[in-house]
């Protein structure tokens, strides 16, 4: 067991008394991308909320870099996990730089504001994702893809080992989806563990080193996408006939496509 990884053992939880996630286990090493794949209502979002401790768990354990996550308070937890929500409409005209600077809050006292170093770090995070030109641009006037990139920059600025993303490409057009996939690759090159929930069965092939296939709150398989995702397993999860195709693009790269029949 290295101390650079995330280990989840038999995690269970839900809302009120109803258990929605029934004992999920997996482990991810640093620099890897884990995609959670499954139909609507399979418990992906609940699992994310359990990992981030937005809702109390009913059982199981989570270890991050050798720490039992339960022993961390909210502030310390924010040094291990950062959260990238779906970028919905913003109400107030915060600039991108202000948005990203908010990531430094867990490193400050309650009555403190970001210092110069914090703002500089925030700016560097925008640069890393190639959106430094948006620094002074109001977040609520950005496109969906730009907003999502700002939120990713914020998580980067929080300087955590694990980044949790809730369906980052769900409401984006095709070009923006590729932009987000590129950003996820940048994160994994930085040595982060990225956990992404997704609706697209092809996304794990594109970005994921691991996939967690889920149905009705349980895991149907965990491992590299090439091993886990096939006609049979996808049919079982989605309940419709499906086929995984292997094709070569014009650069002779092998690509995977997932089709419903």
């Amino acid at each position: 067991m290295t101390d650079l990884n995330l280990i989840v053992k038999d995690l269970r939880g839900g809302y009120g008394k109803r258990e929605i996630v029934h004992g999920i286990s997996f482990s991810v090493e640093t620099g890897n991308v884990l995609c959670m794949l499954g139909p609507n209502g399979c418990g992906k979002s609940t699992l994310l909320k359990l990992l981030l401790r937005f809702i109390p768990k009913m059982g199981g354990e989570v270890f991050c870099r050798g720490h039992n996550v339960d022993e961390l308070d909210r502030r310390r937890l924010a040094h291990f996990f950062s959260y990238i929500p779906q970028s919905d409409q913003a109400i107030f005209p915060y600039t991108a730089l202000e948005m990203v600077s908010m990531a430094r809050s867990s490193y400050m006292g309650a009555f403190q504001s970001p210092k110069k170093e914090d703002v500089e770090l925030a700016y560097r995070c925008l640069e890393k994702l190639h959106i430094a030109h948006l620094a002074d641009f109001p977040y609520n006037n950005m496109s969906g893809g730009q907003r999502q990139l700002v939120l990713i920059a914020r998580a980067l600025c929080q300087n955590t080992c694990i980044l949790v993303m809730d369906e980052p490409t769900a409401s984006l057009d095709f070009a923006n989806q590729q932009l987000i996939n590129d950003a996820i690759r940048i994160l994994s090159k930085e040595g982060k563990i990225v956990i992404v929930s997704t609706h697209s069965p092809a996304q794990p092939f594109a970005i994921g080193s691991h996939v967690l296939l889920m149905r009705q709150g349980s895991s149907l398989g965990f491992g590299p996408p090439e091993e886990i995702l096939n006609d049979h397993s996808l049919e079982e999860v989605y309940g419709i006939p499906m086929e995984v195709l292997s094709v070569r693009d014009r650069n002779q790269q092998e690509r995977k496509l997932c089709l419903s029949l």
Binding site: K49, L52, R53, F54, R74, R75, R76, L77, A78, H79, F81, S82, Y83, P85, I91, F92, P93, Y94, T95, E98, M102, A103, S105, S106, M108, A110, F111, Q112, S113, P114, D136, P138, Q158
Partner: protein, 332 residues
Amino acid sequence: MHIKRNYYLLLSLLICLSLILPVISLNVGFYGTNAREVFSFLFLGSYSDANIPAILFNIRIPRIIAAFVIGAGLSAAGAAFQGMFKNPLVSPDILGVSHGAGLGACLALLFGWSSFGVQINAFCFGILTVFLAYFIGSRARFGQDISLVLAGTMLRELANAMVTGVKYVADPNDVLPKITYWLMGSLNKVDTKSLIFSLIPISIGLLVLFLLRWRLNLLTLGDEEAMALGVNPRRVRLLAILAATIISAGSVCLGGLIAWVGLMIPHLSRGLVGADYRRLLPVSALMGGCFLLLMDNLARSLTTMDIPIGILTACFGAPFFIMLILNRGQKR
């Protein structure tokens, strides 16, 4: 960065205005004073009109301070509430502090208490209403901000109904006009004692909001995101609600129901300096202070009668609100 440069320019402008406007306002009022006489009294201590010291120290100076502080307080409280409820159209009365205070004042007037008693009772009822709203809201099962707003709205309507009840039983020759006049909002009863009583909670509240200015930004993101950023949103929200409530209660018990300031000024400030509370709070407070002082000067000088200031702020607020709606429509 242009935002920052604009901010410092605006801030220095507002600070200058906040220094000049009160001095000019010393000359405004029913009793005709001559500017040279007022300033020679203030700076040289000599005067020929024997009424001048009394008028300045007992009436005008307390009133000027009250107008500025109430305007600043309501605007800062409004800005804080707008952020935590993620809604730019929220006013400081969202949790019922003003209507609760109104009820407290009406009851005290009904029982014939002194004006200081009325003020204290208004303050306590305002705070009590918000405590009730918070108690109900924090027990509800769904999202805390929504349940707080619902509880606040309900309590506001309840207080309103009870005010109507008190008005109904009040003596129409004596008590009813007093109640009506109090509810309209006016600064003409402000004296040194009532000013000091209100100044304490307003200053404490403003200080707390100012210290929390960065954390207020995180509340606008919603609870889950704030938690993920390592902040306990409930604790920050409770502290901000406490601060904004003692500010609003202190303001309302001094000047009655003065509407619109706490909605309009933060909104206007946000358009000028952006959403970051590090800039928004100081600008809102100074702009609100100047605005209400200006309104009070108009209230004192437009007619021979002292116009209730609530009427004037509403006359400015309603067109502003209409403009806001129309502008929003254009953006889409």
